[in-house]
């Protein structure tokens, strides 16, 4: 008679694979993690790895092709290209990550509030997001960059102003769909206050999707940083940055094409790493639920 009920008996061991196992079983995530880790590691360790100083000029050895001494050659001022490339990664990646912190937090928070409480909170927040979306992002960056002077400050300010919108929109939609689910109703029946439901119950559920969006958003931000550097209204020389490197190499594109191509490739590499990371995380989280 023990086999009548079709309800499975709870297994002895959890069937939930460990986090590590799940990562290993997702090739896109694994590749993304490896690619990004290598980049970060090289960027962090470059002062110890490279014998060159990124701004040290050596005019007797300018525009050299790749060689044993200079793996990627030198630029028009005789600086080692590989060293500059990795120092530029330090600058650009650091700005990219730092500039996302505040927008990510405010965006997730506002999105949850707007999706959970609905009514006038939702109306106000949606109005703001719609208003900002109507402005082209680059227009705002350029205006702020001119107003605050060139350099990374413009990027931080612009991003604090508009960067949260993408997170707010995604999280708002997610929250609104979770809000209709019954586990939220049970939390409300328990009498839990709104902030507790938001932070302890909703946050863990919206965070995965928000992190996936963060990955793609970072790619956009990196491209913005590099573009501004290229246009000369981003990071100011002599601080190494991929954008200024591309711009500096441009006059020599026919003779020393790698000067511009290599930092360009670095941007593409980072973009691929981040999108693999995002895709992989989305994959894992989709499979889990």
């Amino acid at each position: 008679m023990n086999n009548i009920h079709s309800e499975p008996i709870l297994t002895e061991k959890s069937t939930r694979p460990s986090a590590l196992r799940r990562i290993v079983k997702t090739p896109s995530l694994l590749t993304g993690i490896l690619m990004f880790a290598i980049l970060i590691l090289l960027a962090v360790l470059v002062p110890y790895l490279s014998p060159y100083d990124p701004s040290e000029q050596n005019l007797s050895a300018f525009l050299q092709p790749p060689s044993a001494a200079h793996w990627l050659g030198t630029d028009q001022l005789g600086r080692d290209l590989l060293t500059r490339l990795l120092y530029a990664a330090r600058t650009d990646l650091a700005i990219m990550i730092l500039a996302e912190i505040i927008p990510f937090c405010t965006g997730v928070l506002l999105g949850m509030i707007s999706g959970y409480y609905g009514k006038w909170t939702d109306k106000v927040i949606s109005l703001i997001t719609d208003a900002f979306i109507a402005f082209p992002f680059y227009l705002i960056v350029i205006i702020v960059a001119f107003a605050s002077g060139a350099g990374e400050r413009g990027i931080y300010i612009t991003f604090i102003l508009v960067g949260w919108i993408v997170f707010a929109r995604v999280v708002r939609g997610l929250t609104a769909s979770f809000r209709k689910q019954e586990w939220i109703a049970s939390a409300q029946t328990l009498g839990l206050p709104g902030h507790r439901i938001l932070l302890r119950h909703l946050l863990p559920n919206v965070l995965p999707q928000a992190v996936v969006v963060l990955m793609t958003d970072m790619i956009g931000l990196l491209v913005a940083i590099v573009t501004l550097g290229y246009l000369g209204i981003g990071i100011a020389p002599p601080t190494p940055d991929w954008g200024t490197m591309i711009a500096d190499g441009q006059p020599f594109i026919t003779t020393a094409w790698w000067l511009s191509a290599v930092p360009g490739f670095a941007v593409v590499y980072t973009g691929i790493a981040l999108s693999l990371l995002g895709d992989g995380l989305a994959d894992i989280w989709r499979r889990k639920s």
């Binding site: 009548i4 009920h5 079709s6 309800e7 499975p8 709870l10 002895e12 959890s14 069937t15 939930r16 689910q181 019954e182 586990w183 109703a185 049970s186 939390a187 409300q188 029946t189 328990l190 009498g191 839990l192 507790r196 302890r200 119950h201 863990p204 559920n205 889990k288 639920s289």
Partner: protein, 253 residues
């Protein structure tokens, strides 16, 4: 006579022009189960949500014991009424383990001492016939019936004086439905619960209720004792419902 556990007085809920609940008046006696029947759109779930404090009524009054439940309920009043929902796939937070689910309720209402949370959680699982190793699992690792048991354990954890079950077995397979109904039956006698049990399935209502209330289009059609309702329903609509239930053919051999 004992004071009713819950009194619903003239409760009305409107959505624009649509009246979801139309002056509902109902009493729920202590330690009994009221079975609430009705077809889709009858307003039975809306009534449950009003009582649970999830929807504020436009009109009318709710009395829990002798205390009026207002729009803003106290923490204690929230604790007194707990609810179990229909859809086992959505009734538990997918990112909380069973341990977190039970501890959240126990801690928030300070049901037991911090050090006793673990022990109490195990007891609760035992009460709904789940092994203690379930504590470290996440909702997706359980079957529908098991999730419903966890939802019951969570609702019971805060020791409510009224338990609302909104179609708790409708999404389950028939064999599982039966074992969950048995669980409700045992808990009722063990814990002396007062329950509002909502179902569209008259067989289920017959199995669990002391009193039956029938709703139709936002109005209460009939309130009757269980035996009276199933044998001699007072309302024509109740009779229509009862005769529509598919029955096993009878064979005389």
């Amino acid at each position: 006579m004992m004071e009713p556990a819950l009194q619903v007085k003239d409760i009305t809920v409107r959505y624009g022009d649509y009246t979801a609940l139309d002056h509902i008046t109902l009493e729920l006696a202590q330690h009994t189960t009221l079975g609430l029947v009705g077809e889709s759109g009858s307003g039975k779930s809306t009534l449950a949500r009003v009582i649970a404090g999830l929807i504020a009524p436009d009109d009318g009054q709710l009395l829990l014991g002798s205390v009026e439940l207002r729009k803003k309920r106290s923490k204690e009043q929230h604790k007194q009424i707990q609810m179990i929902f229909q859809n086992p796939d959505a009734s538990l937070n997918p990112r909380h383990s069973v341990r977190q689910i039970l501890a959240e309720a126990l801690r928030f209402h300070r049901i037991v001492d911090r050090s006793q949370v673990e022990r109490r959680s195990r007891e609760l699982l035992e009460q709904v016939q789940l092994p203690a190793r379930a504590l470290d699992r996440y909702p997706h690792e359980f079957s529908g019936g098991q999730r419903q048991r966890i939802a019951i354990a969570r609702a019971l954890s805060v020791e409510p004086s009224l338990l609302i079950a909104d179609e708790p077995t409708s999404a389950l397979d028939v064999s599982v439905q039966r074992s969950v109904l048995e669980l409700f039956h045992n808990l009722r006698t063990e814990l002396n619960l007062t329950m509002l049990f909502i179902s569209h399935d008259l067989g289920v209502i017959h199995a669990v209720s002391d009193t039956v209330a029938v709703m139709r289009q936002g109005k209460l059609a009939e309130v009757n004792s269980r035996d009276e309702f199933f044998l001699r329903p007072a309302h024509e609509y109740s009779r229509e419902l009862l005769s529509a239930v598919p029955k096993m053919p009878e064979y005389h051999s």
